[in-house]
C-alpha cells in the first residue's frame, strides 16, 4: 500500500437489490487518491458517481471489494464505527447546504462537535475559528434564512472543517450557486487544499468547475472510464481578483 494514498479502492462492486431487480451501481472500481489531492468526479446521473461518493464518505459499504480510508478497512466496520469515522475524518458539503434552520451559523458549525468527545468549553472557539477560515466570523449569529446561498455554503464548509478532517467530500457544492459565487467557493476549497493539505473530492457535472481540481475521474455505467491529470488547473483566487467588482456580493438571501 502506497503510504501517501488516503483513499485506496480495490475491485469495488456495489449492487442494490430491489425486489428481484439487481442494480449494479459500481462494477469493479480500483483507484487511489493521494493525501493532499483535489479530485473532481464527473459522470451522468446513474453513472455510479454518487454511489462511490457515499462509499468514500463511509455512509455506505461495498458489496464486494475493498475500501481503505487512511489505512482502515471500511467494509469491516459497524454502523456506529462508521459514524465515528465520518465524525473524525470526513467533512461533508452538500449541494443544498443542509444547514439546520432556526439555528445560528455558529451552532450549525458546532453540530459535529456534539457527537465527538472534545472539550466542550472549546466548542465555541473552534466553531468561531472555522467560521473565520471561511470569512464569515462576523455573521456567526445569523440564521440560515438570513444568509445568501454562498454564505450558507461557506457555513457548511466551516462545519465540514470543524473536526480537522483529512477528507472533505463535496457533492455538487456549486450546483445551487451563481457562477461568481461558485468561483468563490472553489477558491475556498483550493485554499484549504493548499494551506491545510486537506484532501478534497468533489462531484460535479460542470467541466468548468472540474478544472479547478488537479485530477478528474469520469464515470459511466458503473465503470471508471477516464482518469486524467489536469495539467493546468484554474486558479479561483486569481480569477476573482480579475473580475470586475460588482457591488461587493450583496446577494439576495435564498429561501
Amino acid at each position: 500500500m502506497a503510504s501517501d494514498a488516503l483513499i485506496r479502492i480495490d475491485h469495488l462492486h456495489k449492487t442494490y437489490h430491489m425486489g428481484d431487480n439487481h442494480v449494479h451501481a459500481l462494477r469493479g472500481i480500483s483507484l487511489e487518491i493521494a493525501r493532499g489531492g483535489l479530485v473532481a468526479i464527473m459522470g451522468a446521473s446513474g453513472s455510479g458517481k454518487s454511489t462511490l461518493m457515499n462509499i468514500i464518505g463511509c455512509l455506505d459499504k461495498p458489496s464486494s471489494g475493498k475500501y481503505f480510508l487512511d489505512g482502515v478497512d471500511i467494509g469491516s466496520l459497524q454502523r456506529d464505527e462508521l459514524a465515528d469515522i465520518r465524525n473524525r475524518k470526513v467533512g461533508f458539503v452538500f449541494q443544498q447546504f443542509n444547514l439546520l434552520a432556526r439555528t445560528s451559523a455558529l451552532e450549525n458549525v458546532e453540530l459535529p462537535l456534539l457527537y465527538s468527545d472534545g472539550d466542550k468549553s472549546k466548542f465555541k472557539d473552534r466553531a468561531m475559528a472555522a467560521l473565520t477560515a471561511v470569512g464569515l466570523a462576523e455573521r456567526y449569529d445569523h440564521h440560515p434564512s438570513q444568509l445568501s446561498g454562498g454564505q450558507q455554503q461557506r457555513v457548511a464548509i466551516a462545519r465540514s472543517l470543524i473536526n480537522d478532517p483529512q477528507l472533505i467530500l463535496a457533492d455538487e457544492p456549486t450546483g445551487a450557486l451563481d457562477s461568481r459565487t461558485s468561483v468563490e467557493i472553489m477558491g475556498i476549497f483550493q485554499r484549504l487544499n493548499r494551506e491545510k493539505g486537506i484532501t478534497v473530492v468533489l462531484v460535479t457535472h460542470e467541466p468548468d468547475i472540474a478544472h479547478y481540481s488537479n485530477r478528474i475521474l469520469q464515470f459511466k455505467d458503473g465503470h471508471l472510464m477516464v482518469d486524467e491529470v489536469v495539467t493546468n488547473p484554474r486558479n479561483a483566487e486569481r480569477e476573482l481578483a480579475e473580475m470586475p467588482d460588482i457591488v461587493e456580493e450583496e446577494e439576495e438571501p435564498v429561501a
Binding site: 464518505g57 454502523r79 456506529d80 459514524a83 465515528d84 465520518r86 473524525r88 432556526r102 456534539l114 457527537y115
Partner: protein, 411 residues
C-alpha cells in the same frame, strides 16, 4: 449528565418550532394525568371517610344478632328468631375474658311528643355501657346509670336531630317528653356524630334503659318474653377482637345448649370486618375510576407516538445530516426519546396541577371528600415519564436506524 442537558435543550428547541402541535399533544397527557389524579383523590377521599366512620362507630365493636331458626327444615333467616336474652348479654360481659363491655340492644321506631311538637325517631333500649362501646358522648346533662336500668326509670338521652325537632331552641334538660303516652324525663343530650357511611343520620335517636324501653315502650306483639332482645353489642379488649368472637361463640353455644351437629342460632360479626368489606368496595371503585382515567393517559401516549412519528418523517433530512456528521444510533435515539419524554413530563406536571385543581373543584362543588396524596402525585409524574419512554421509543428507534443515504436524499 451534560449530554442529557444538551439533548433537552435540542428537544425544547424542536418543540418550540411547533408550539400549537406540542401543546395539543401535551393536552392528551395533561387530561390523562389530571383525570388519574382527580379520580384517585376521589377514591382515597372515600376510603379516608370510611376510616373516620370506623373511628366514629367505636373501635373493636362486635355485634351479636339472633340467627336463623331451623323449624323442621324451614330456615327463617337471620334476625327473625328471638334467641338472645339479656342474660346472654350479661354472661358475655362476665364470662368472656376478651370482652370489655357488653350491652343488650332493643330498638324500635316510635313517635315522640313534646308540647305541640312531635317527631318519629328510633328508640334504643340499652345499658349504660352502650355509650362507651359506641363512643357516644354526652353534650349536656348526665348519662343514665345501672341503677336507672334496675329501677326501670323513665329517663332518656336525646340525639341532636331529635332535640332540634322537638325543642326549637329550648333547653331540653329536665323536660318531659312522651313516647306512646309514657312520660320520660330528658336527662342528657348527645354530641352529634353526623351521617354514617350509608347516609343514615346517627343523631336521630333516643337512648333509654333497656328495661324501661321494653316494659313501657315496646311491649306487646310477639315480644311476650321480656327476656328476649334484638341484639347484643360488645366491645372487645384492644387487639383481641378475634379471641372475643371465638369466646362469645363458644359461650352462647353452650348457653343455648346446641349440639355439635347443630348450626349456631346466633350470628357474631365484627363491625371492623364489615367496615373492611365496605372499604374494599370503595377501593375497588377507586381503582375502577383510576383505570378508566388511565385509559385517557394511554390515549395521550398514543398522541405522543403519533406526533413523534410525524416529527421523525418531517425531520428525516435533519436526521440524515446528523448521521453524516457523526451522530451514532444512540445519539439519535436519545434525542427523540428525550423529546418525547420532555413532552410527556411537561404534560404530566401540568396534568398534576390540573388534577389537584379538579379534585379541589369536586370537593367544593359536589361536596365529596377528596384526598390528593403525595404518592399519587409521584406516581403520576413517574407514569407520565414512562408513557413518554414507552410511546417515544418506537419513533425514536425508527429515526435512529434510518439509512443515512436515504435520509439525506429525502425531500
Amino acid at each position: 449528565m451534560n449530554k442529557v442537558f444538551q439533548s433537552m435543550r435540542i428537544a425544547f428547541r424542536a418543540l418550540r418550532v411547533n408550539k400549537l402541535r406540542s401543546a395539543l399533544t401535551m393536552l392528551g397527557i395533561i387530561i390523562g394525568v389530571g383525570a388519574v389524579i382527580a379520580m384517585v383523590s376521589v377514591g382515597s377521599g372515600a376510603t379516608d371517610r370510611i376510616h373516620q366512620q370506623i373511628a366514629s362507630i367505636g373501635s373493636n365493636v362486635i355485634i351479636i344478632q339472633p340467627g336463623s331458626q331451623n323449624n323442621g327444615g324451614v330456615k327463617s333467616g337471620n334476625g327473625n328468631s328471638q334467641t338472645l336474652t339479656e342474660e346472654d348479654a350479661r354472661a358475655v360481659q362476665e364470662e368472656c375474658p376478651s370482652v370489655m363491655y357488653s350491652t343488650p340492644v332493643q330498638q324500635n321506631q316510635q313517635q315522640v311528643v313534646y308540647a305541640s311538637n312531635n317527631w318519629g325517631t328510633r328508640i334504643y333500649g340499652v345499658s349504660p355501657e352502650y355509650l362507651t362501646i359506641r363512643d357516644i358522648r354526652i353534650e349536656q346533662g348526665e348519662p343514665f346509670t345501672t341503677e336507672d336500668v334496675r329501677a326501670t326509670n323513665k329517663v332518656a338521652l336525646l340525639g341532636k336531630t331529635v332535640v332540634d325537632n322537638l325543642f326549637a331552641g329550648e333547653d331540653p334538660i329536665g323536660k318531659t317528653i312522651r313516647v306512646r303516652k309514657v312520660p320520660f324525663t330528658v336527662v342528657g343530650t348527645l354530641v352529634p356524630k353526623g351521617q354514617n357511611s350509608s347516609g343514615q343520620d346517627q343523631d336521630d335517636m333516643i337512648i333509654m334503659p333497656i328495661t324501661t324501653a321494653k316494659k313501657k315502650v315496646m311491649g306487646g306483639g310477639r315480644q311476650n318474653n321480656w327476656q328476649q332482645i334484638g341484639q347484643i353489642m360488645v366491645q372487645a379488649r384492644d387487639g383481641r377482637n378475634q379471641n372475643a368472637m371465638d369466646e362469645i361463640e363458644a359461650l352462647l353455644r353452650q348457653r343455648h345448649r346446641l349440639q355439635a351437629t347443630e348450626d349456631n342460632d346466633f350470628q357474631v360479626r365484627s363491625l371492623e370486618e364489615m367496615a373492611a368489606a365496605q372499604e374494599q368496595a370503595t377501593q375497588i371503585m377507586g381503582l375502577l375510576l383510576a383505570s378508566i382515567a388511565s385509559v385517557s393517559l394511554i390515549v395521550g401516549g398514543i398522541g405522543i407516538m403519533n406526533i413523534m412519528l410525524v416529527s421523525v418523517t418531517e425531520r428525516t433530512k435533519e436526521i440524515g445530516l446528523r448521521q453524516a456528521v457523526g451522530a451514532k444510533t444512540k445519539d439519535i435515539l436519545s434525542q427523540f426519546l428525550v423529546e418525547a419524554v420532555t413532552l410527556s413530563l411537561l404534560g404530566g406536571c401540568l396534568g398534576i396541577g390540573m388534577g389537584v385543581l379538579a379534585s379541589l373543584g369536586i370537593s367544593y362543588f359536589a361536596g365529596w371528600n377528596t384526598l390528593v396524596s403525595l404518592p399519587s402525585i409521584a406516581a403520576a409524574f413517574f407514569f407520565s415519564a414512562l408513557v413518554g419512554v414507552f410511546f417515544g421509543y418506537y419513533p425514536a428507534r425508527k429515526a435512529a436506524f434510518l439509512d443515512p443515504i436515504e435520509a439525506l436524499r429525502y425531500e
